[in-house]
C-alpha cells in the first residue's frame, strides 16, 4: 500500500514540472521528426533505386573462343538475361577501351576452359573488370559472383559425392530456376523508413534516459530532507525505494505509449503487429533504465556525478548501437552488441519489418537477460549500500 502511495505522489510531483514533461514527451517527438526527415536519404525506404540493365561486355579468353556451356546457360536464364545488356565476342583490348570510354559498364572475362577445369575438380574463376558506376559495378559483382559461388559449391558437392563412391555427374548450375530472387526484408514486403528507425532508436534512448528521473528523485529526497522524514515513519527502506522506482517506471511507460501512438498518428510510423512483444520490449528497457540509474545513484555521492555518468552511459550505448546513425565500422557494431539499445532496436526493427515471433524473441530474450543482470546488480548494490538519509 505504501509503495503505491509513494509511487502515486511521485507521479504527481513529476507531472508538475513543465520541463520534465517537455523532455519526456515533446522532445522525443521533435527529434524523431527532425532526424527522420533530415536523414531519410540514408535509408532504403526513402526511394526505391531503379536498376537499369547492366551493359556488359563478354571476353572469352583461350584458344577455342567458345563460351562454356554452364556460363552460357547462366546468362540465358531469363531473369539474368533481363538484368544484362550483353555484348559478346569482344577482344580484351576492345572491351577495356569501351569500358574506359563508358560505353560498357562492366566486363567479364570468361576462360573457355572453364567447364573442363570444373570437371577436373578446379574452381570456377571469372575475371571481372569494373566500370565507372559503383552501383552498376555492385550489380555486376553480385550477379557474376553468385554464378561463381554457386558453381563452386555444386562442384564441391560433386567431389564429395564422388569420393564417397556415390557416383553422379557434375550438377549443372542451370538446374536452378533462378539465381536472383527479388526479395523483401520483411514478410510484409516493407523495409523500414528513416522515421521508423529514429522512432525506435529515440524511443529507446528516451526510455533509458528516464532513469535520470529516478536518480534525480532519489537525490532530491535527500537534499530536501524529505527522506529524513520518510525514514522516521513506519515504512521500510524497500517501500520508499520501490515506490520511487515504480512511480518513475509508470511515467516511463506513459512516455513509451505516447511516443508509439504519437509517432504512429503524426508520422505514420508502423510499429508492426507484435503488440505484446513491443510492450515487453518497453518494459525491459524501463527495467534496464531504472536499474542503471539506481546502481549509479546508490554508488555516487552527488546528483551531478550520477547524472553525468548516466548520461554518458546512455549516449555511448545509443551511439554504439547505431541509434544516432547506422554505423559502418565493424568493431563499433560488435561493441554495440553489448548494449541494451542494440537488442531493443533490433527487436523493434524486426517487428516493424513484420518478422516472425521467433526472430523477434531472439532479440527480446537477450534484452531480457541483460535486464535481469542489471536488476541483480541493482539488488546487490542496494543490499550493500542501501538508500538512507545518513548514507
Amino acid at each position: 500500500m505504501n509503495i503505491r502511495t509513494i509511487a502515486w505522489y511521485e507521479l504527481k510531483r513529476l507531472s508538475r514540472h513543465r520541463t520534465v514533461l517537455f523532455n519526456l514527451f515533446l522532445l522525443p517527438m521533435l527529434l524523431i521528426f527532425i532526424l527522420g526527415t533530415a536523414l531519410s536519404s540514408f535509408f532504403g525506404a526513402a526511394e526505391d533505386v531503379e536498376l537499369k540493365p547492366l551493359s556488359t561486355g563478354l571476353v572469352i579468353s583461350g584458344s577455342t573462343g567458345d563460351l562454356p556451356a554452364s556460363f552460357e546457360a547462366f546468362i540465358e536464364n531469363p531473369e539474368i538475361a533481363s538484368m544484362l545488356n550483353l555484348e559478346r565476342s569482344l577482344t580484351r583490348a576492345e572491351a577495356e577501351s569501351r569500358l574506359r570510354s563508358g560505353e560498357l559498364e562492366f566486363v567479364v572475362v570468361v576462360p573457355d576452359h572453364l567447364d573442363d577445369r570444373m570437371f577436373s575438380g578446379g574452381s570456377a574463376e571469372l575475371e571481372l573488370l569494373l566500370g565507372k558506376d559503383s552501383v552498376q559495378n555492385l550489380v555486376g559483382e553480385s550477379l557474376f559472383g553468385s554464378y561463381m559461388d554457386e558453381a563452386n559449391s555444386r562442384q564441391a558437392l560433386f567431389m564429395t559425392a564422388a569420393a564417397e563412391g556415390q557416383g553422379g555427374d557434375s550438377v549443372s548450375i542451370t538446374e536452378r530456376p533462378a539465381y536472383v530472387n527479388a526479395g523483401q526484408l520483411g514478410g510484409q514486403g516493407e523495409s523500414y523508413s528513416a522515421v521508423q528507425y529514429y522512432a525506435a532508436s529515440m524511443m529507446i534512448m528516451f526510455l533509458l534516459n528516464s532513469g535520470m528521473m529516478v536518480s534525480s528523485s532519489l537525490y532530491s529526497e535527500k537534499e530536501d530532507h524529505t527522506l529524513y522524514r520518510l525514514q522516521s515513519m513506519p515504512l521500510s527502506g524497500r517501500e520508499i525505494f520501490g515506490g520511487k522506482i515504480l512511480g518513475c517506471s509508470l511515467i516511463t511507460f506513459a512516455q513509451a505509449g505516447i511516443i508509439i501512438l504519437g509517432s504512429n498518428l503524426l508520422y505514420g510510423v508502423n510499429w508492426g503487429n507484435h503488440v505484446w512483444l513491443l510492450i515487453l520490449v518497453c518494459v525491459l528497457i524501463s527495467i534496464a533504465s531504472m536499474t542503471i540509474a539506481a546502481v549509479v545513484s546508490l554508488m555516487t555521492s552527488s546528483a551531478a556525478t550520477a547524472s553525468g555518468i548516466i548520461q554518458a552511459v546512455i549516449i555511448a550505448m545509443t551511439f554504439l548501437s547505431g541509434g544516432f546513425t547506422p554505423l559502418p565500422v565493424d568493431i563499433i557494431r560488435t561493441l554495440g552488441e553489448f548494449t541494451v539499445n542494440h537488442w531493443a532496436l533490433q527487436g523493434i526493427l524486426r517487428m516493424m519489418l513484420g518478422a516472425g515471433t521467433s526472430e523477434v524473441l531472439a532479440c527480446v530474450g537477450i534484452l531480457g537477460a541483460i535486464s535481469l543482470g542489471l536488476t541483480a546488480a541493482a539488488l546487490i548494490v542496494y543490499r550493500k549500500v542501501g538508500y538512507s538519509y545518513h548514507a
Binding site: N2, T5, I6, Y9, K12, R13, R16, H17, D224, H225, T226, Y228, R229, L230, Q231, S232, M233, P234, L235, S236, Y389, H390
Partner: protein, 311 residues
C-alpha cells in the same frame, strides 16, 4: 515506568563519540526540553530515538517497545518535526500533509478530517491549496509541524523547530507545542535557545559533548549548582567608598564597578537589597535603575562547562 527510557546509549562516528553513555527518562505527558549547544549530540539522540540511526550500545524504549526490536511500532507512535524543513516545494500544503498522513495509514474521511485539523492547528487552513514555495519561513515551519501530527502521535519530537523564523511565528509554534501537550502528547523539544526551553519545558536535560550534564526541573537544575544572584544597579555619584563598603558587607560576595554601573553578586538578592540601597543612600549616590537577576539555564550551562550555549 518512563514513557521513553534511554539506557547507557552510545553512538560513535568512527573514533568520535557522538553520544556518550546517555541515560534519559521521559515521563508520559510532559514537555521535555533537550538543551545544548550545536554538536552536543541532541540530533543524534533524536535520530536514535526515531530509529534513523543504529544504536552502538545501550537501549531505547518508547511506550515499552524497543526501537531495535519493534522499529515500525515505535515509529507509529512518534511524530518527528525535523530541524530542516522536510517538505515537497511543488506540492500544495494539503498534498504535503495528506501524503505523510497516508503513509501513517490514514484513509478516507478520517484522512480528510485529520488533514484539515492539522492545517487548522498550525493556522494554514486558508493556504491549503498553496505550495510551500509561496510561504514565509514561519509558515513553512508550521507546515513542517502539521506534517508530523496528523496521526496524533503519543510522542512528538521537535528538533529545533524555530530556527530562522520571526518572533511572531516562534510564539505561534511555542503555543502549538503547549496545545499539543495539553491534547495528550508527550513532547521532546530540542533547542539551543535557552529561553524557549525554559518557557515551555516541565523538565530539562542539558547536553554537552554527547553527555547529559544536568537533568531535572528548572528549579532543580538551578539548585544543582550554588549559583549566585545578581543585582544590577545604575546610579550617579558612585564613589570608591561605596564600592568598598558594599564589598565589606557580609551578605555580598563581590562587586564589579564600571562607570555608573554596579554589578553586585550575592547569595540572596531579596535578603540584602535593603542594605545595598541604604549604603548607596548614605554616600549620596542617586539611583537611576535597579534590577535583580536569578541564575538561568544559560548561566547554569556556563558554570558547568565554562562556555555559553551559543559558542
Amino acid at each position: 515506568m518512563a514513557f521513553l527510557q534511554a539506557q547507557d546509549v552510545v553512538k560513535r562516528y568512527g573514533s568520535k563519540l557522538s553520544v556518550d553513555h546517555l541515560n534519559l527518562n521521559i515521563h508520559e505527558g510532559e514537555i521535555f526540553g533537550l538543551l545544548g549547544p550545536n554538536g552536543a549530540g541532541k540530533s543524534t539522540t533524536i535520530n536514535m530515538i526515531c530509529g534513523l540511526l543504529k544504536i552502538d550500545q545501550g537501549s531505547i524504549e518508547v511506550d515499552g517497545l524497543s526501537i531495535e526490536d519493534s522499529p515500525l511500532e515505535v515509529k507509529r507512535r512518534i511524530g518527528l518535526v525535523p530541524q530542516d524543513l522536510a517538505l515537497y516545494e511543488n506540492m500544495t500544503a494539503a498534498d504535503n500533509v495528506t501524503f505523510f498522513a497516508k503513509l501513517y495509514g490514514l484513509r478516507g474521511k478520517l484522512l480528510k478530517e485529520r488533514v484539515e485539523e492539522a492545517l487548522s492547528f498550525v493556522g494554514l487552513l486558508d493556504r491549503a491549496k498553496d505550495t510551500p514555495s509561496t510561504f514565509s519561513g514561519g509558515m513553512k515551519r508550521r507546515l513542517n509541524i502539521a506534517c508530523a501530527i496528523t496521526h496524533r502521535p503519543k510522542l512528538i519530537i521537535m528538533d529545533e523547530p524555530t530556527v530562522g523564523i520571526d518572533p511572531q511565528s516562534r510564539n505561534h509554534i511555542l503555543e502549538s507545542v503547549r496545545k499539543l501537550n495539553e491534547m495528550g502528547s508527550t513532547v521532546i523539544y530540542t533547542s539551543h535557545y535557552m529561553e524557549e526551553v525554559a518557557a515551555i519545558s516541565s523538565r530539562v536535560a542539558i547536553m554537552d559533548k554527547g553527555r547529559v550534564i544536568a537533568c531535572g526541573t528548572q528549579q532543580e537544575l538551578k539548585e544543582q549548582v550554588a549559583q549566585e544572584e545578581k543585582i544590577l544597579l545604575t546610579a550617579d555619584g558612585i564613589t570608591p567608598d561605596v564600592v568598598h563598603e558594599l564589598n565589606m558587607h557580609p551578605g555580598i560576595t563581590r562587586v564589579l564597578h564600571e562607570g555608573p554601573l554596579l554589578e553586585i553578586y550575592l547569595p540572596s538578592a531579596q535578603n540584602n537589597l535593603q542594605d545595598v540601597l541604604f549604603i548607596c543612600n548614605q554616600h549620596e549616590a542617586v539611583i537611576q535603575s535597579i534590577k535583580c537577576e536569578e541564575p538561568d539555564l544559560e548561566t547554569l550551562f556556563l558554570s558547568l562547562t565554562g562556555r555559553t550555549l551559543r559558542d
